[in-house]
Amino acid sequence: MSKFKKKANVKQEIPTSSMPDVVFMLLFFFMVTTQMRDTSIIVQQRIPEASQLRKLQRKSLVKYLYIGEPRKVEEWGKEPKIQANDVFIQPREVIQWVNQEKSTLDESERDQITIALKVDNETKRGIIADVETELRKANARKLLYSTNIKMAEF
């Protein structure tokens, strides 16, 4: 019995003096890694799921196109639209957009530009195929269909 009593008497305190340091370390980590998103997406984005995902290494080479039904249906209608940066564009304006994005890259890397298509589930293939044709013409032929990871089926 005496053994147990001895143990119960020992006061256990976790030292808290280093807590601010730990918290600050975490804080700096998140401050450094946080990137504020500069575009607000104005089309519906229910991203499809797939299992065979690949990861892109060079984030700076990736440019996004968002396609889907506009969020504000009363203003823009129900037809799916293409959003580039902060505006809607027509399929024929894609070439111009690609060239504009290419000019922001280093000259040696311009042909490595990758277009990530973030397309809503319910969008029809038609408009996407139009965009693909334009991307071919603009010679931006690396394409990524943005998808979420599919959890294993049971």
Binding site: M19, P20, V23, F24, L26, L27, F30, M31, T33, T34, Q35, M36, R37, P48, E49, A50, S51, Q52, L53, R54, K55, L56, Q57, K59, V62, A116, V119, D120, N121, E122, T123, K124, R125, G126, I128, A129, E132, T133, L135, R136, K137, N139, R141, K142, L143, L144, Y145, S146, T147, I149, K150
Partner: protein, 194 residues
């Protein structure tokens, strides 16, 4: 006479730091650039006029109509996606055994055609199935898992080991061609729907 040094209370410092921490935790979005990667063909005008007739046996045709129904090799597809993956694998690796299936993996082409009215969800679902067939084959050849293969393929230049596996999996020949290239042809969609 030394003046008493004023003390700044620092008991609340941890609280303030916590508050900021929580703010950044909440606003952080991990940039997620993952997805199905495909390469588009060169622009239509740059392609030489096509008069090469591809024999029927070297084509594996997958079509989807505007109601998201699947047609595989001309027959409505009733099986599961896993079965379709297996069928595609068998087609690619036929090597001339079955006279109705492909001659060599190099000649084998998976032709994927949709309609303008096909939904993007279905398109991605079937594209996923086709790519799985190829990645499975590559992964099998070097004895790694499918997940590992995709990690290698995402960044083959990460290490010499990765580069070696990547070349061996796809069967890179001395002239730069591949033994098993991913011959995926995504055709211009038909105009029935929409």
């Amino acid at each position: 006479m030394p003046r008493p040094t004023p003390d700044i209370p620092n008991a609340s410092m941890a609280d303030i730091a916590f508050l900021l921490l929580v703010f950044f935790l909440v606003t952080t979005t991990v940039a997620n650039i993952k997805g199905l990667s495909v390469g588009l063909p060169p622009p239509p005008e740059a392609l030489p006029p096509e008069d090469v007739k591809i024999p029927e046996r070297n084509l594996f045709k997958i079509q989807i109509n505007s109601f998201d129904n699947l047609l595989v090799e001309g027959e409505p597809w009733m099986g599961s996606n896993d079965q379709l993956t297996e069928d595609i694998k068998r087609f690619i690796l036929n090597n001339g055994n079955d006279p109705t299936s492909s001659d060599t993996p190099q000649d084998a082409i998976v032709s994927y055609k949709t309609d303008r009215g096909t939904s993007h969800r279905k398109f991605i679902e079937v594209l996923d199935v086709i790519q799985k067939a190829y990645y499975d084959i590559y992964a099998d050849r070097v004895g790694v898992s499918n997940d590992k293969w995709r990690e290698i393929a995402s960044d083959p230049n990460k290490s010499p080991e990765f580069a070696e596996l990547y070349d061996r999996g796809r069967g890179r020949l001395p002239d730069g061609k591949l033994e098993i290239p991913m011959n995926l042809s995504i055709a211009e969609p038909t105009q029935v729907g929409q």
